[in-house]
Symmetry: C2
Subunit: 248 residues, 2 copies
Amino acid sequence: MLKEKASIIPHECGDCPIRHRAVCARCEADELEVLDQIKYYRSYESGQTLIWSGDHMDFVGSVVSGIATLTQTMEDGRTQMVGLLLPSDFVGRPGRNSAAYDVVAVTDMVMCCFRKKPFEEMMARTPHIAQRLLEMTLDELDAAREWMLVLGRKTAREKIASLMAIIARRDATLNMNGTRGPLVFDLPLTREAMADYLGLTLETVSRQVSALKKDGVIELEGKRRVTVPDFNRLLEEAGDDSDGGMLI
Amino acid sequence: MLKEKASIIPHECGDCPIRHRAVCARCEADELEVLDQIKYYRSYESGQTLIWSGDHMDFVGSVVSGIATLTQTMEDGRTQMVGLLLPSDFVGRPGRNSAAYDVVAVTDMVMCCFRKKPFEEMMARTPHIAQRLLEMTLDELDAAREWMLVLGRKTAREKIASLMAIIARRDATLNMNGTRGPLVFDLPLTREAMADYLGLTLETVSRQVSALKKDGVIELEGKRRVTVPDFNRLLEEAGDDSDGGMLI
DNA sequence: GACCCGCATTGATTTAAATCAACCAACCCT
DNA sequence: AGGGTTGGTTGATTTAAATCAATGCGGGTC
């Protein structure tokens, strides 16, 4: 494996890369100082399961770097991804102490964690945290509902196009790329993980990716690097209005 | 139609039927008094569209009685229900002023509304409201994610069983029925609305309902009244663990 | 009573995606 | 260089659900 040991840089909150997007985004300097006291970093390797569904959870936290998936599994092994955790996303639910989903790292990750008890107390005293968490949760709810439309009503090809569009958009906002010109990004997921996200089999994913490539909607360099020459074309293929998406 | 005019009873918050479950659940007497000042009731008829996706929203509110659906529609008409609004559920999103979904009454309804501006101001001053709203939103997010598994991975029969289980459970908690003995409830949805919830066609819904009836999982009296002789059997058919569900 | 109308059921046929099954290509590891 | 492993592609076949198409039924109205 020869993985270089993930460099765990215990940041000052002040120069944290997710400072402006995470649950602490609204905090004032004095509030940050308190968080600084109780936070600690953990790092995980690609493939590692951070949390098992049903586990007792004694911490909550934010993704600092890397990507994880949130999945649900039925007894017979069918699995459905119900969320993708990206830098700044929040993990855990205040007021509940067992995990509802499996959380699995798909890349090496660093998390900024808080023991649940102190965090909950802090939240009760700090409206800025609760406000930001509400806002983030509402956004996640919207994302989940958008995904319900994908899962319930879209064809396999539309599902793949929708996933590409979401990743492309997310990537563009994270890296502050403009939306002019072709978009290039790396798929963070294996074909199997894509299948679990989309409610498909991995064979169908593979076929539809090939089909989109053949039709010139996307270009592939290796299996993971994707170029989207025309984002509106991709949105059309996803079955979305070719305008609504560009906000924020 | 000859509908008797829905009796709009402007309540005191004190004896409101959803007092203990809605967004105001945590409010103290003095806070309730303020809400009392700014609230107003609206009633809607079955079939009426309360809100169109994209509409400007100048109010938020709680469902007092009746049921509504939250749906998303694609340009070509495919629709997916993304939520079911029951008494005490909250409508609208503070901090956003256009609606993301269509909201349609499936029965006659009464809503307790607040103009958005005053409500947002009140929320900023009243942590009890924000706290409760966060809790409710987290619950909705869990429900949406559970539904993602249903949509993405379950068979048509399992989908129908899952829907029956959800309605049965919800009905049992609303009416404080114990869970012993057979459950009886009315389906609030037409076959088409069920199809929109489940990502199926109405024909498939009809067939699978008939199949569950033939196999003795459910009994039907007319098209809407359902009896579940053995709830655990229903949960098995839904592909759920036959235990996890009975909480709260 | 006869006629709709909106909802629901049931049957015949088609089709999109799942399943079953080879095979490929990187990459790693001795 | 050889063999294993992981992730991906591609093809043949099956199947669950969609689609196309009648038909049923209860409740209101003329």
